[in-house]
Amino acid sequence: MKCGNGGTSTPALKVRAGRQIEILGEDDVAIESSTRLLAEKLTAERETFLSQWVRTIGEDLQGRLSMAELGRELGELYEAILQALGTGGLDGRGERYGEVRSLLIELSRNRARQGFTPTETARSVFALKEVLEPSLTGDQEGARAYLQFARLLDDLGLLTTEAYVRTREEIISSQAEQLLELSTPVVKLWDGVVGVPLVGTLDSARTQVVMEKLLQTLVDSDSTQAIIDITGVPTVDTQVAQHLLKTVVAARMMGAQCTISGIRPQIAQTIVALGIEFGDIPTNASLADALRQAVAEVAKESENDARGLL
Protein backbone atom coordinates (compact mmCIF):
# COMPACT_ATOMS: atom_id res chain seq x y z
CA MET A 1 0.00 0.00 0.00
CA LYS A 2 1.82 3.10 -1.22
CA CYS A 3 0.57 6.51 -0.20
CA GLY A 4 0.56 9.26 -2.79
CA ASN A 5 3.62 11.45 -2.82
CA GLY A 6 1.86 14.66 -2.04
CA GLY A 7 0.98 15.85 -5.52
CA THR A 8 0.64 19.61 -5.25
CA SER A 9 1.80 19.93 -1.65
CA THR A 10 5.14 21.60 -0.93
CA PRO A 11 7.87 19.02 -1.26
CA ALA A 12 10.44 18.67 1.48
CA LEU A 13 13.99 18.34 0.32
CA LYS A 14 16.27 15.74 1.75
CA VAL A 15 19.95 15.57 0.95
CA ARG A 16 21.36 12.10 0.93
CA ALA A 17 24.92 10.82 0.34
CA GLY A 18 26.21 14.18 -0.80
CA ARG A 19 24.84 14.66 -4.28
CA GLN A 20 21.67 12.58 -4.46
CA ILE A 21 18.59 14.65 -3.82
CA GLU A 22 15.31 12.96 -3.12
CA ILE A 23 12.03 14.75 -3.17
CA LEU A 24 9.70 13.48 -0.54
CA GLY A 25 6.05 14.49 -0.26
CA GLU A 26 4.52 15.58 3.03
CA ASP A 27 2.87 12.19 3.33
CA ASP A 28 6.19 10.40 3.21
CA VAL A 29 7.57 12.57 5.97
CA ALA A 30 4.44 11.95 8.00
CA ILE A 31 4.77 8.21 7.49
CA GLU A 32 8.34 8.27 8.64
CA SER A 33 7.52 10.04 11.89
CA SER A 34 4.48 7.83 12.46
CA THR A 35 6.55 4.72 11.91
CA ARG A 36 9.12 5.95 14.41
CA LEU A 37 6.43 6.73 16.95
CA LEU A 38 4.82 3.32 16.49
CA ALA A 39 8.12 1.49 16.80
CA GLU A 40 8.90 3.35 20.03
CA LYS A 41 5.47 2.69 21.49
CA LEU A 42 5.48 -0.97 20.55
CA THR A 43 8.95 -1.48 22.02
CA ALA A 44 8.23 0.40 25.24
CA GLU A 45 4.99 -1.37 26.04
CA ARG A 46 5.79 -4.72 24.52
CA GLU A 47 4.71 -6.82 27.53
CA THR A 48 1.43 -4.98 28.10
CA PHE A 49 0.38 -4.95 24.44
CA LEU A 50 1.34 -8.54 23.82
CA SER A 51 -0.44 -9.95 26.86
CA GLN A 52 -3.53 -7.89 26.08
CA TRP A 53 -3.48 -9.07 22.46
CA VAL A 54 -3.15 -12.72 23.48
CA ARG A 55 -5.96 -12.29 26.02
CA THR A 56 -8.35 -10.67 23.51
CA ILE A 57 -7.88 -13.42 20.96
CA GLY A 58 -7.90 -16.10 23.64
CA GLU A 59 -11.39 -14.93 24.66
CA ASP A 60 -12.52 -15.01 21.02
CA LEU A 61 -11.32 -18.53 20.43
CA GLN A 62 -12.72 -19.75 23.75
CA GLY A 63 -10.07 -22.26 24.60
CA ARG A 64 -9.98 -23.98 21.25
CA LEU A 65 -6.31 -23.10 21.05
CA SER A 66 -3.94 -23.34 24.02
CA MET A 67 -2.83 -20.02 25.47
CA ALA A 68 0.79 -21.13 25.33
CA GLU A 69 0.60 -21.79 21.60
CA LEU A 70 -1.30 -18.58 20.96
CA GLY A 71 1.27 -16.66 23.01
CA ARG A 72 4.12 -18.13 21.01
CA GLU A 73 2.44 -17.42 17.63
CA LEU A 74 1.51 -13.85 18.47
CA GLY A 75 4.87 -13.21 20.15
CA GLU A 76 6.71 -14.12 16.97
CA LEU A 77 4.32 -12.02 14.93
CA TYR A 78 4.73 -9.05 17.27
CA GLU A 79 8.51 -9.20 17.02
CA ALA A 80 8.36 -9.47 13.24
CA ILE A 81 6.05 -6.45 12.95
CA LEU A 82 8.25 -4.48 15.31
CA GLN A 83 11.32 -5.35 13.30
CA ALA A 84 9.63 -4.34 10.03
CA LEU A 85 8.55 -1.05 11.60
CA GLY A 86 12.10 -0.47 12.82
CA THR A 87 13.50 -0.70 9.30
CA GLY A 88 10.88 1.81 8.22
CA GLY A 89 7.80 1.68 6.06
CA LEU A 90 4.20 0.69 6.49
CA ASP A 91 3.80 -1.13 3.19
CA GLY A 92 2.43 -4.53 4.18
CA ARG A 93 3.10 -5.97 0.73
CA GLY A 94 6.65 -4.62 0.63
CA GLU A 95 9.93 -6.46 1.04
CA ARG A 96 10.40 -5.47 4.69
CA TYR A 97 7.24 -7.27 5.70
CA GLY A 98 8.26 -10.59 4.14
CA GLU A 99 8.82 -12.17 7.56
CA VAL A 100 5.46 -10.87 8.86
CA ARG A 101 3.66 -12.20 5.81
CA SER A 102 5.18 -15.66 6.02
CA LEU A 103 4.27 -15.89 9.72
CA LEU A 104 0.71 -14.80 8.94
CA ILE A 105 0.37 -17.28 6.10
CA GLU A 106 1.57 -20.03 8.41
CA LEU A 107 -0.94 -18.92 11.06
CA SER A 108 -3.81 -18.84 8.55
CA ARG A 109 -2.96 -22.28 7.21
CA ASN A 110 -3.02 -23.73 10.72
CA ARG A 111 -6.32 -22.02 11.52
CA ALA A 112 -7.90 -23.24 8.28
CA ARG A 113 -6.81 -26.82 8.98
CA GLN A 114 -8.03 -26.67 12.59
CA GLY A 115 -11.47 -25.57 11.43
CA PHE A 116 -11.51 -21.95 12.60
CA THR A 117 -13.60 -19.50 10.56
CA PRO A 118 -12.01 -16.87 8.27
CA THR A 119 -13.39 -14.18 10.61
CA GLU A 120 -11.68 -15.69 13.62
CA THR A 121 -8.46 -15.90 11.62
CA ALA A 122 -8.57 -12.28 10.47
CA ARG A 123 -9.49 -11.16 13.99
CA SER A 124 -6.06 -12.36 15.13
CA VAL A 125 -4.65 -9.40 13.26
CA PHE A 126 -7.44 -6.88 13.77
CA ALA A 127 -7.43 -7.35 17.53
CA LEU A 128 -4.06 -5.60 17.68
CA LYS A 129 -5.86 -2.39 16.65
CA GLU A 130 -8.12 -2.55 19.69
CA VAL A 131 -5.12 -3.12 21.90
CA LEU A 132 -3.28 -0.09 20.55
CA GLU A 133 -6.23 2.27 20.28
CA PRO A 134 -6.40 3.65 23.87
CA SER A 135 -2.69 4.41 24.15
CA LEU A 136 -2.27 6.00 20.72
CA THR A 137 -5.35 8.09 20.08
CA GLY A 138 -4.57 10.62 22.86
CA ASP A 139 -2.97 13.26 20.68
CA GLN A 140 -3.12 14.19 17.02
CA GLU A 141 0.21 12.69 16.02
CA GLY A 142 -0.65 9.46 17.81
CA ALA A 143 -4.02 9.33 16.08
CA ARG A 144 -2.37 9.75 12.69
CA ALA A 145 0.10 7.00 13.48
CA TYR A 146 -2.77 4.82 14.67
CA LEU A 147 -4.71 5.33 11.44
CA GLN A 148 -1.69 4.46 9.34
CA PHE A 149 -0.99 1.39 11.44
CA ALA A 150 -4.65 0.40 11.16
CA ARG A 151 -4.34 0.59 7.38
CA LEU A 152 -1.35 -1.75 7.54
CA LEU A 153 -3.25 -4.16 9.77
CA ASP A 154 -6.25 -4.11 7.41
CA ASP A 155 -3.98 -5.17 4.62
CA LEU A 156 -2.39 -7.90 6.73
CA GLY A 157 -5.86 -9.03 7.79
CA LEU A 158 -6.86 -9.42 4.17
CA LEU A 159 -3.70 -11.42 3.62
CA THR A 160 -4.75 -13.92 6.28
CA THR A 161 -8.12 -14.32 4.57
CA GLU A 162 -6.41 -14.90 1.22
CA ALA A 163 -4.11 -17.50 2.74
CA TYR A 164 -7.04 -19.08 4.55
CA VAL A 165 -9.05 -19.43 1.34
CA ARG A 166 -6.05 -20.79 -0.53
CA THR A 167 -5.52 -23.47 2.12
CA ARG A 168 -9.19 -24.41 2.01
CA GLU A 169 -8.99 -24.72 -1.77
CA GLU A 170 -5.97 -26.99 -1.44
CA ILE A 171 -7.89 -29.15 1.01
CA ILE A 172 -10.89 -29.31 -1.34
CA SER A 173 -8.85 -30.24 -4.38
CA SER A 174 -6.97 -32.94 -2.50
CA GLN A 175 -10.30 -34.30 -1.28
CA ALA A 176 -11.64 -34.25 -4.83
CA GLU A 177 -8.66 -36.33 -5.86
CA GLN A 178 -9.25 -38.79 -3.05
CA LEU A 179 -12.91 -38.98 -4.01
CA LEU A 180 -11.94 -39.73 -7.58
CA GLU A 181 -9.98 -42.72 -6.36
CA LEU A 182 -12.66 -43.81 -3.91
CA SER A 183 -15.61 -43.56 -6.20
CA THR A 184 -14.29 -45.85 -8.90
CA PRO A 185 -13.81 -49.29 -7.41
CA VAL A 186 -13.50 -52.31 -9.66
CA VAL A 187 -14.94 -55.37 -7.93
CA LYS A 188 -14.84 -59.03 -8.68
CA LEU A 189 -18.45 -60.21 -8.94
CA TRP A 190 -17.90 -63.84 -9.86
CA ASP A 191 -15.16 -66.08 -11.14
CA GLY A 192 -14.15 -64.42 -14.39
CA VAL A 193 -16.56 -61.48 -13.97
CA VAL A 194 -15.56 -58.00 -12.81
CA GLY A 195 -17.88 -55.04 -12.25
CA VAL A 196 -17.49 -51.26 -12.08
CA PRO A 197 -20.31 -49.51 -10.23
CA LEU A 198 -20.12 -45.90 -11.41
CA VAL A 199 -21.58 -43.20 -9.18
CA GLY A 200 -21.80 -39.50 -9.93
CA THR A 201 -20.49 -37.47 -12.81
CA LEU A 202 -18.34 -39.14 -15.42
CA ASP A 203 -15.77 -36.75 -16.83
CA SER A 204 -12.52 -37.32 -18.69
CA ALA A 205 -10.41 -37.62 -15.54
CA ARG A 206 -12.67 -40.21 -13.98
CA THR A 207 -13.03 -42.16 -17.21
CA GLN A 208 -9.26 -42.40 -17.34
CA VAL A 209 -9.14 -43.78 -13.79
CA VAL A 210 -11.98 -46.22 -14.47
CA MET A 211 -10.43 -47.43 -17.71
CA GLU A 212 -7.00 -47.97 -16.17
CA LYS A 213 -8.40 -49.81 -13.17
CA LEU A 214 -10.77 -51.93 -15.21
CA LEU A 215 -8.14 -53.03 -17.72
CA GLN A 216 -5.64 -53.82 -14.96
CA THR A 217 -8.22 -55.81 -12.98
CA LEU A 218 -9.18 -57.76 -16.09
CA VAL A 219 -5.56 -58.89 -16.41
CA ASP A 220 -4.94 -59.45 -12.69
CA SER A 221 -8.08 -61.49 -12.07
CA ASP A 222 -7.92 -63.31 -15.40
CA SER A 223 -11.51 -62.28 -16.16
CA THR A 224 -13.27 -62.35 -19.51
CA GLN A 225 -16.46 -60.51 -18.56
CA ALA A 226 -16.75 -56.90 -17.46
CA ILE A 227 -19.91 -55.09 -16.37
CA ILE A 228 -20.06 -51.30 -16.13
CA ASP A 229 -23.04 -50.28 -14.03
CA ILE A 230 -24.31 -46.73 -14.55
CA THR A 231 -27.26 -46.82 -12.12
CA GLY A 232 -25.56 -44.09 -10.09
CA VAL A 233 -24.82 -41.79 -13.02
CA PRO A 234 -27.59 -39.17 -13.06
CA THR A 235 -26.96 -37.70 -16.51
CA VAL A 236 -25.81 -39.58 -19.58
CA ASP A 237 -24.97 -37.02 -22.24
CA THR A 238 -22.84 -37.41 -25.35
CA GLN A 239 -19.62 -36.88 -23.42
CA VAL A 240 -20.44 -39.60 -20.89
CA ALA A 241 -21.56 -41.92 -23.70
CA GLN A 242 -18.36 -41.31 -25.60
CA HIS A 243 -16.28 -42.09 -22.52
CA LEU A 244 -18.28 -45.28 -21.91
CA LEU A 245 -17.85 -46.40 -25.51
CA LYS A 246 -14.09 -45.83 -25.36
CA THR A 247 -13.81 -47.87 -22.17
CA VAL A 248 -15.82 -50.73 -23.72
CA VAL A 249 -13.70 -50.72 -26.86
CA ALA A 250 -10.49 -50.80 -24.79
CA ALA A 251 -11.80 -53.76 -22.74
CA ARG A 252 -12.73 -55.57 -25.93
CA MET A 253 -9.26 -55.09 -27.31
CA MET A 254 -8.04 -57.07 -24.34
CA GLY A 255 -10.39 -59.90 -25.22
CA ALA A 256 -13.02 -59.17 -22.59
CA GLN A 257 -16.76 -58.90 -23.16
CA CYS A 258 -18.14 -55.69 -21.77
CA THR A 259 -21.76 -55.02 -20.78
CA ILE A 260 -23.29 -51.72 -19.68
CA SER A 261 -25.98 -52.19 -17.06
CA GLY A 262 -28.22 -49.94 -15.02
CA ILE A 263 -29.88 -48.18 -17.94
CA ARG A 264 -33.03 -46.69 -16.42
CA PRO A 265 -36.11 -45.96 -18.57
CA GLN A 266 -35.58 -42.18 -18.61
CA ILE A 267 -31.92 -42.62 -19.53
CA ALA A 268 -32.82 -45.01 -22.36
CA GLN A 269 -35.31 -42.50 -23.79
CA THR A 270 -32.81 -39.67 -23.51
CA ILE A 271 -30.06 -41.64 -25.21
CA VAL A 272 -32.39 -42.50 -28.08
CA ALA A 273 -33.53 -38.87 -28.45
CA LEU A 274 -29.94 -37.68 -28.43
CA GLY A 275 -29.21 -40.10 -31.24
CA ILE A 276 -26.41 -41.99 -29.52
CA GLU A 277 -25.92 -45.51 -30.82
CA PHE A 278 -24.34 -48.11 -28.62
CA GLY A 279 -23.96 -50.44 -31.62
CA ASP A 280 -23.45 -54.08 -30.69
CA ILE A 281 -22.51 -53.32 -27.09
CA PRO A 282 -24.83 -55.34 -24.87
CA THR A 283 -26.81 -53.25 -22.39
CA ASN A 284 -29.09 -54.23 -19.50
CA ALA A 285 -31.63 -52.58 -17.26
CA SER A 286 -30.25 -54.13 -14.09
CA LEU A 287 -26.92 -55.30 -12.80
CA ALA A 288 -28.55 -58.63 -11.84
CA ASP A 289 -29.48 -59.38 -15.45
CA ALA A 290 -26.05 -58.42 -16.67
CA LEU A 291 -24.42 -60.64 -14.04
CA ARG A 292 -26.65 -63.61 -14.93
CA GLN A 293 -25.68 -63.33 -18.57
CA ALA A 294 -22.00 -62.88 -17.78
CA VAL A 295 -21.99 -65.92 -15.49
CA ALA A 296 -23.71 -67.97 -18.21
CA GLU A 297 -21.02 -66.90 -20.66
CA VAL A 298 -18.27 -67.91 -18.25
CA ALA A 299 -19.99 -71.26 -17.66
CA LYS A 300 -20.20 -71.88 -21.40
CA GLU A 301 -16.50 -71.21 -21.76
CA SER A 302 -15.57 -73.58 -18.96
CA GLU A 303 -17.85 -76.25 -20.44
CA ASN A 304 -15.90 -75.94 -23.65
CA ASP A 305 -12.72 -76.24 -21.66
CA ALA A 306 -13.97 -79.40 -19.98
CA ARG A 307 -14.90 -81.02 -23.29
CA GLY A 308 -11.35 -80.41 -24.38
CA LEU A 309 -12.49 -78.34 -27.33
CA LEU A 310 -10.03 -75.56 -26.52
Binding site: T235, V236, T238, A241, Q266, T270, A273, L274, G275
Partner: protein, 139 residues
Protein backbone atom coordinates in the same frame (compact mmCIF):
# COMPACT_ATOMS: atom_id res chain seq x y z
CA UNK B 1 -39.70 -19.14 -30.86
CA UNK B 2 -41.53 -16.72 -28.62
CA UNK B 3 -39.32 -14.48 -26.49
CA UNK B 4 -39.80 -16.01 -23.06
CA UNK B 5 -36.64 -14.41 -21.70
CA UNK B 6 -38.37 -11.32 -20.35
CA UNK B 7 -41.36 -13.07 -18.78
CA UNK B 8 -39.22 -15.77 -17.23
CA UNK B 9 -38.48 -14.21 -13.87
CA UNK B 10 -36.99 -14.53 -11.37
CA UNK B 11 -34.19 -16.24 -13.19
CA UNK B 12 -31.31 -18.12 -11.63
CA UNK B 13 -27.89 -17.80 -13.21
CA UNK B 14 -24.68 -19.78 -13.19
CA UNK B 15 -21.38 -18.56 -14.66
CA UNK B 16 -19.74 -21.36 -16.62
CA UNK B 17 -15.94 -21.26 -16.78
CA UNK B 18 -14.93 -24.84 -15.93
CA UNK B 19 -16.43 -28.28 -16.46
CA UNK B 20 -17.36 -28.26 -12.78
CA UNK B 21 -19.59 -25.27 -13.51
CA UNK B 22 -21.41 -27.28 -16.17
CA UNK B 23 -22.35 -29.72 -13.40
CA UNK B 24 -23.51 -26.82 -11.21
CA UNK B 25 -25.64 -25.43 -14.03
CA UNK B 26 -27.09 -28.87 -14.65
CA UNK B 27 -28.00 -29.25 -10.99
CA UNK B 28 -29.70 -25.86 -11.02
CA UNK B 29 -31.78 -26.89 -14.04
CA UNK B 30 -32.62 -30.22 -12.40
CA UNK B 31 -33.81 -28.51 -9.21
CA UNK B 32 -35.97 -26.08 -11.22
CA UNK B 33 -37.40 -28.92 -13.30
CA UNK B 34 -38.29 -30.90 -10.18
CA UNK B 35 -39.96 -27.87 -8.62
CA UNK B 36 -41.70 -27.08 -11.90
CA UNK B 37 -43.46 -30.43 -11.85
CA UNK B 38 -41.75 -32.02 -14.87
CA UNK B 39 -41.94 -35.82 -15.04
CA UNK B 40 -38.82 -37.89 -14.59
CA UNK B 41 -38.32 -38.46 -18.32
CA UNK B 42 -38.82 -34.77 -19.12
CA UNK B 43 -36.50 -33.78 -16.32
CA UNK B 44 -33.79 -36.11 -17.57
CA UNK B 45 -34.18 -34.88 -21.14
CA UNK B 46 -34.01 -31.23 -20.14
CA UNK B 47 -31.02 -31.77 -17.85
CA UNK B 48 -29.19 -33.71 -20.55
CA UNK B 49 -29.87 -30.94 -23.09
CA UNK B 50 -28.59 -28.38 -20.57
CA UNK B 51 -25.49 -30.48 -20.09
CA UNK B 52 -24.81 -30.64 -23.84
CA UNK B 53 -25.40 -26.94 -24.42
CA UNK B 54 -23.48 -25.92 -21.31
CA UNK B 55 -20.50 -27.97 -22.38
CA UNK B 56 -20.68 -26.66 -25.95
CA UNK B 57 -20.65 -23.15 -24.56
CA UNK B 58 -17.57 -23.98 -22.49
CA UNK B 59 -15.64 -25.85 -25.18
CA UNK B 60 -16.46 -23.75 -28.25
CA UNK B 61 -17.53 -20.40 -26.76
CA UNK B 62 -14.94 -20.18 -23.97
CA UNK B 63 -17.57 -20.21 -21.23
CA UNK B 64 -20.56 -17.99 -20.56
CA UNK B 65 -23.72 -17.65 -18.53
CA UNK B 66 -26.59 -20.07 -18.03
CA UNK B 67 -29.88 -18.49 -17.01
CA UNK B 68 -32.87 -20.62 -16.09
CA UNK B 69 -36.35 -19.89 -14.85
CA UNK B 70 -39.76 -21.43 -14.38
CA UNK B 71 -42.22 -20.34 -17.03
CA UNK B 72 -45.95 -20.26 -17.53
CA UNK B 73 -47.61 -19.42 -20.80
CA UNK B 74 -51.19 -19.98 -21.98
CA UNK B 75 -51.98 -22.33 -19.13
CA UNK B 76 -48.89 -24.41 -19.60
CA UNK B 77 -45.91 -24.44 -17.29
CA UNK B 78 -42.38 -25.24 -18.17
CA UNK B 79 -38.72 -24.41 -17.77
CA UNK B 80 -36.82 -21.86 -19.81
CA UNK B 81 -33.03 -22.06 -20.07
CA UNK B 82 -30.75 -19.64 -21.88
CA UNK B 83 -27.05 -20.15 -22.71
CA UNK B 84 -25.15 -17.03 -23.65
CA UNK B 85 -21.47 -16.87 -24.54
CA UNK B 86 -19.23 -14.27 -26.12
CA UNK B 87 -17.23 -16.70 -28.18
CA UNK B 88 -16.36 -16.51 -31.87
CA UNK B 89 -19.82 -17.70 -32.94
CA UNK B 90 -20.85 -20.61 -35.14
CA UNK B 91 -20.01 -19.95 -38.83
CA UNK B 92 -22.66 -22.29 -40.22
CA UNK B 93 -25.51 -22.98 -37.81
CA UNK B 94 -27.30 -25.36 -40.20
CA UNK B 95 -24.17 -27.47 -40.52
CA UNK B 96 -23.57 -27.42 -36.76
CA UNK B 97 -27.12 -28.76 -36.27
CA UNK B 98 -26.41 -31.76 -38.52
CA UNK B 99 -26.17 -35.13 -36.77
CA UNK B 100 -22.63 -36.38 -36.57
CA UNK B 101 -20.95 -33.15 -37.58
CA UNK B 102 -18.40 -31.84 -35.11
CA UNK B 103 -15.68 -29.23 -35.25
CA UNK B 104 -14.03 -30.74 -32.19
CA UNK B 105 -13.61 -34.38 -31.20
CA UNK B 106 -17.07 -35.04 -29.79
CA UNK B 107 -19.76 -37.28 -31.25
CA UNK B 108 -21.39 -34.46 -33.16
CA UNK B 109 -24.73 -35.06 -31.49
CA UNK B 110 -24.70 -32.41 -28.77
CA UNK B 111 -26.43 -29.55 -30.53
CA UNK B 112 -28.72 -31.60 -32.75
CA UNK B 113 -29.50 -34.02 -29.91
CA UNK B 114 -30.29 -31.18 -27.52
CA UNK B 115 -32.76 -29.81 -30.07
CA UNK B 116 -34.56 -33.15 -30.12
CA UNK B 117 -34.62 -33.34 -26.31
CA UNK B 118 -36.56 -30.11 -25.77
CA UNK B 119 -39.88 -28.65 -26.99
CA UNK B 120 -38.63 -25.29 -28.22
CA UNK B 121 -35.16 -24.49 -29.43
CA UNK B 122 -33.70 -21.29 -30.74
CA UNK B 123 -30.14 -20.43 -31.66
CA UNK B 124 -28.68 -17.06 -32.60
CA UNK B 125 -25.02 -16.85 -33.45
CA UNK B 126 -22.77 -14.10 -34.69
CA UNK B 127 -19.24 -12.81 -34.27
CA UNK B 128 -20.23 -11.27 -30.92
CA UNK B 129 -21.28 -14.61 -29.47
CA UNK B 130 -23.88 -17.33 -29.43
CA UNK B 131 -27.17 -17.54 -27.54
CA UNK B 132 -29.17 -20.72 -27.31
CA UNK B 133 -32.62 -20.66 -25.72
CA UNK B 134 -34.64 -23.75 -24.90
CA UNK B 135 -38.01 -24.50 -23.34
CA UNK B 136 -39.31 -27.78 -21.98
CA UNK B 137 -43.01 -27.89 -21.12
CA UNK B 138 -44.42 -30.03 -18.32
CA UNK B 139 -47.11 -32.33 -19.60
Amino acid sequence: MKDYGASATPAETVQVATSGDVVTARQMVRTLAQRGGLGLVHQTKLVTAASELGRNMLVYGGGGVVRAAALSDAGRSGIYVEFRDEGPGIPDVELALTDGWTSGNGMGLGLSGARRLVDEFDIASGPEGTTVRIVKWAR
